[in-house]
């Protein structure tokens, strides 16, 4: 049977467990047709149960392999797992090569795992928008743990991971000195650090560099040839979360149980403190802002003649008007004009 086009039919098929209907719903929200809103409206009442985990880190740190290993542990523990693997769209062709499935072949044939590769596609925060919607669909379809994998390069990708309930930042030895980790700007968003490829030379150094950077643990310093331990003050009793640093060899599954344990502890931490509420509010604020931006922008565009944007771009290009003034002029023009199309 070929798939029907109607969103309502797709939703009821997907809720009965039809994998293809679920996959088609994701395409619908990804392509952002007029049906996307309909999907979200219908499914929203069934959401809010999933725990969303963002996994980010530099290329080559082993994110896909870790996600694969984590999904296996979650399956052993009886959870259904949704995976969203995001890779960049080429800014030149608009095409994308999505290769994360290569590392996720262990999960094939398990109906409790759904994997979807997504391209960033670019354009006006579209990625985050689509990811929110795909998460929502998987949540509504009963996937209890949703793992989102993004390359930790670029603001949009970091934003996606940062909007998860639990953020895992993956590091690996041999990818550069510890200054690289600071540059990436992802230290601040991590709830859990994973040093993957921990069987490789330099793993201890990566581990120590992270520890030092985070100012964690008793510090051992070499002072005139003697090792001395500097005791830090006890952490404030505000039950703040201290990001653990965990070592894994994801290809062999080593240490991955501990990562999943840490995610579950963090989930518990969010549930028992105000932090969970706070994050949910940030998530929803971000989502609302984006919807408002999109809606207001398309309203503005509806009120402007199709050529007006090109005219203004020409004026700015020839330096006869600055971009701020140009934007104000466009808004003023839209406000006085009736809807033209």
């Amino acid at each position: 049977m070929h798939l029907p086009d109607a969103v309502d039919t797709l939703i009821s098929l997907a809720r009965e467990g039809d994998m293809r209907a679920l996959a088609r719903l994701i395409s619908v929200v990804e392509n952002d047709g007029t049906q996307a809103r309909q999907v979200v409206e219908r499914l929203f009442p069934h959401t809010g149960r999933a725990h969303i985990v963002g996994i980010t880190g530099a290329p080559g740190t082993g994110k896909s392999t870790l996600v694969n290993a984590m999904a296996r542990v979650y399956r052993q523990r009886g959870h259904r797992v949704g995976i969203i693997a995001i890779d960049p769209t080429s800014p030149f062709s608009g095409g994308a090569l999505l290769g994360d499935r290569v590392r996720m072949r262990d999960l094939v044939g398990d109906p409790g795992v759904f994997i979807r590769s997504m391209a960033t596609r670019g354009s006006l925060g579209g990625l985050a928008h689509a990811t929110d919607d795909v998460v929502l669909i998987l949540d509504a379809m009963g996937y209890e743990r949703i793992l989102i994998e993004t390359v930790g390069v670029g603001q949009a990708e970091v934003d996606i991971a940062a909007s998860a309930h639990t953020v895992i930042v993956v590091e690996a030895p041999g990818l550069g000195d510890d200054v690289q980790a600071i540059k990436a700007g992802v230290l601040e968003i991590a709830d859990i650090f994973v040093v993957n490829k921990a069987d490789r030379e330099g793993a201890d150094r990566t581990f120590l560099a992270l520890q030092t950077m985070l100012g964690l643990g008793p510090r051992r310093v070499q002072h005139h040839g003697r090792t001395m331990t500097v005791h830090e003050e006890a952490p404030a009793p505000d039950r703040a979360w201290t990001p653990p640093i965990l070592k894994t060899v994801a290809t062999r599954g080593e240490g991955v149980d501990a990562v999943v344990d840490a995610v579950e502890q963090h989930r518990e931490h969010l549930r028992t403190t105000h932090e969970g509420q706070r994050r949910e509010e940030i998530r929803i604020r971000r989502e609302l802002y984006r919807i408002l931006q999109d809606a207001l922008l398309s309203r503005l565009m509806e009120r402007l003649p199709p050529s007006s944007l090109d005219e203004v771009i020409q004026q700015v290009t020839s330096r006869s008007v600055d971009p701020y003034t140009a934007a104000q002029q466009l808004i003023a023009r839209a406000e006085t004009q009736p809807v033209t199309r």
């Binding site: 996959a23 047709g33 608009g94 095409g95 999505l98 290769g99 290569v102 072949r105 979807r116």
Partner: protein, 143 residues
């Protein structure tokens, strides 16, 4: 759907590990503006059809150099049919003897591409079969 992207699964069923051709084609399709899901070598027919279903692809490209195409392709085509996915465009590339081409086409394979094929020919073929006026990368540049 103005932003609809064409999604293509590139997979290597069977046991030969020669994935250079599959990667070249995957990259050429990406540069033509398609979203390419690459699943790697040694895939079972079941794994390929499951990935195609979850990724909701429009096209499946199979690369086979082992000579096992007459065992693998019929199985994939049958699984696709069972799932109601026989509307997906299936292409086969690799080492396929001439006498097997009509047999594959009888199974529902739309195009067979042997050694020496230009990647542009594959791109043009996909565009034609899907009714695209121009390849996606060109359409993106013009909009």
């Amino acid at each position: 759907m103005a932003n609809r992207k064409i999604r293509v699964l590139v997979a290597k069923p069977g046991l030969d590990g020669h994935d250079r051709g599959a990667k070249v084609v995957a990259r050429a399709l990406r540069d033509a503006g398609f979203e390419v899901i690459y699943t790697g070598i040694r895939q079972t027919p079941e794994a390929i059809v499951e990935a195609a279903a979850q990724e909701d692809v429009d096209v499946i490209g199979l690369s086979i150099l082992s000579g096992a195409h007459m065992a693998l392709v019929p199985k994939i085509m049958r699984l696709l049919k069972e799932r109601g996915m026989d509307d997906v465009l299936v292409l086969v590339g690799g080492i396929i003897p001439d006498e097997d081409v009509p047999k594959l086409k009888a199974l529902g394979v739309k195009g067979v591409f042997g050694p020496g094929t230009l990647t542009q020919d594959i791109i043009d073929f996909i565009c034609r079969e899907l009714g695209l006026e121009t390849m996606p990368a060109m359409a993106a540049a013009q909009s």
